[in-house]
Symmetry: C2
Subunit: 205 residues, 2 copies
C-alpha cells in the first residue's frame, strides 16, 4: 500500500517528518521541497493535502492543541490538581517541542483556520478549568483570575525557556544543579501554587 504511485499515508508522514525537522533545526529551516524529497515524493505532493506550507504548520499546531487538551483532560479526570496540570503542560512541551513552538508562533499560522481555533479553544478551556476544580476542592483562592494567568505564565515560561536552551545556561545550572525539567517545574510552580495546589495568601508586611 505504501509503494508505487500513491504513497498511501502521505499526510501523516509529512506531519511526522516536519516535526522532526522543526525539532532539530527550527521552524524556519522547514522546507516543503526537502521534506518531499526525503519522503520520495514530488515537491508538490504535500500541497495536495495541506494547500500550502502554512497549511502543514497549521495542521501541526492543531495536532498539538488536540494532544495537549487530551493530556490536560486526562490529568483532571485522574484527580490531578492545577499544579499537576502545569507539570503536564511542561511535559507536553518537552516531548513535542516542534508542535509547541509552532502552536505559539502566530506569524507562521493562518489564524482564520477554524480547526485550529477549535483545537486551541478546547485546550485553553482545559487549562482554565483546573482552577474551577480547585475551588470545588475547597482550596483557599485569594485571586483566582490572577492565579490562573500566573500559573499559565509560569509553566509557559519554564517550557519556553527550556526549549530555547535558557535553563541549561551556566548561570541557571549554578542555581539549580542538575535537576530535571519537571522537578524544576514543581519546585518553581510550587512557590506560586503552594505545595497543596492552592494559591498562597499573598505575603504582606
Amino acid at each position: 500500500m505504501a509503494d508505487g504511485y500513491h504513497h498511501g499515508n502521505l499526510r501523516a508522514a509529512v506531519l511526522a517528518r516536519a516535526a522532526e525537522v522543526i525539532e532539530r533545526e527550527g521552524p524556519y529551516a522547514f522546507s516543503l521541497r526537502s521534506l518531499a524529497a526525503d519522503l520520495g515524493v514530488s515537491h508538490t505532493a504535500p500541497r495536495h493535502h495541506f494547500g500550502s506550507r502554512e497549511g502543514v504548520l497549521n495542521a501541526l499546531a492543531t495536532e498539538g492543541y488536540t494532544e495537549l487538551a487530551n493530556r490536560l483532560r486526562a490529568n483532571r479526570e485522574a484527580g490531578g490538581g492545577f499544579l499537576e496540570s502545569g507539570v503536564e503542560y511542561v511535559r507536553f512541551a518537552a516531548e513535542h517541542p516542534a508542535h509547541f513552538q509552532v502552536m505559539f508562533a502566530p506569524s507562521l499560522l493562518d489564524e482564520d483556520d477554524s480547526e485550529l481555533s477549535a483545537a486551541r479553544a478546547a485546550a485553553f478551556g482545559e487549562l482554565t478549568s483546573g482552577v474551577e476544580s480547585m475551588a470545588e476542592e475547597g482550596r483557599p483562592v485569594q485571586d483566582a483570575a490572577g492565579g490562573v494567568v500566573a500559573g499559565w505564565a509560569i509553566v509557559h515560561g519554564i517550557a519556553t525557556l527550556a526549549l530555547t536552551g535558557n535553563l541549561d545556561s551556566s548561570g541557571v545550572r549554578a542555581l539549580l544543579g542538575d535537576a530535571d525539567l519537571l522537578t524544576i517545574t514543581r519546585r518553581s510552580a510550587g512557590l506560586l501554587f503552594g505545595a497543596t495546589g492552592a494559591f498562597p495568601e499573598t505575603a504582606r508586611e
Copy 2:
C-alpha cells in the same frame, strides 16, 4: 552624507527596518532583498555589514540584550526590587517585540558569536543580581534559587504569551477585564513575590 553611492548609515538603517518588519510580520517574513530594496541599496549591501541574514538577526539580538541589561541595571540602581525588574522585563518585550522574539529564537542565531554571548551574559547577570539585592534588604527568602527561576519564568511567560496574542483571547479577557499588560504583570507576579517583593513562605497543609 546619506546620499549618493554610500548610504552613510546602512548598518543602523538595516537594524531599524528589520525590527519593523519582524514586529509586523514575524522573523520568517524578514528578507534581506526586500529590506535592501526598501532602503534603496542593492540586495548584497547589508551583507557587507552583517555577513549574512543570520548576522542581521544576531546583531538585533545583541542590541536587544544590551538594551535589556541597561534597563535592568537602571532599575536596580534606582532601588527597584525584583518585582520591578520583572515588570521592566515585560515592558522591554512589549516595547521591542522584534528584538525579544529574536533573542529567544536560538534557531535563528549563530550561538557561537562572542558579542551575542557577552551581551546575553550581561543581561542575565543583571536579572539574577536582583535576588541578591533582595537578600541584602533583609527580605525573607525561602528558596532563593527556585524563586529566581520562578520569577524569570513568570515574567518571561507573560511576555511570551502577550507577544503571541494569547493574553488578548476571549478566555483570558473574561478573567482579567481590560487591565493593561504591566498591571497584569504586577498582579500575577505579585502572587509569587508577594506585594513587598519577597518570596512567600510556601503554603502547606
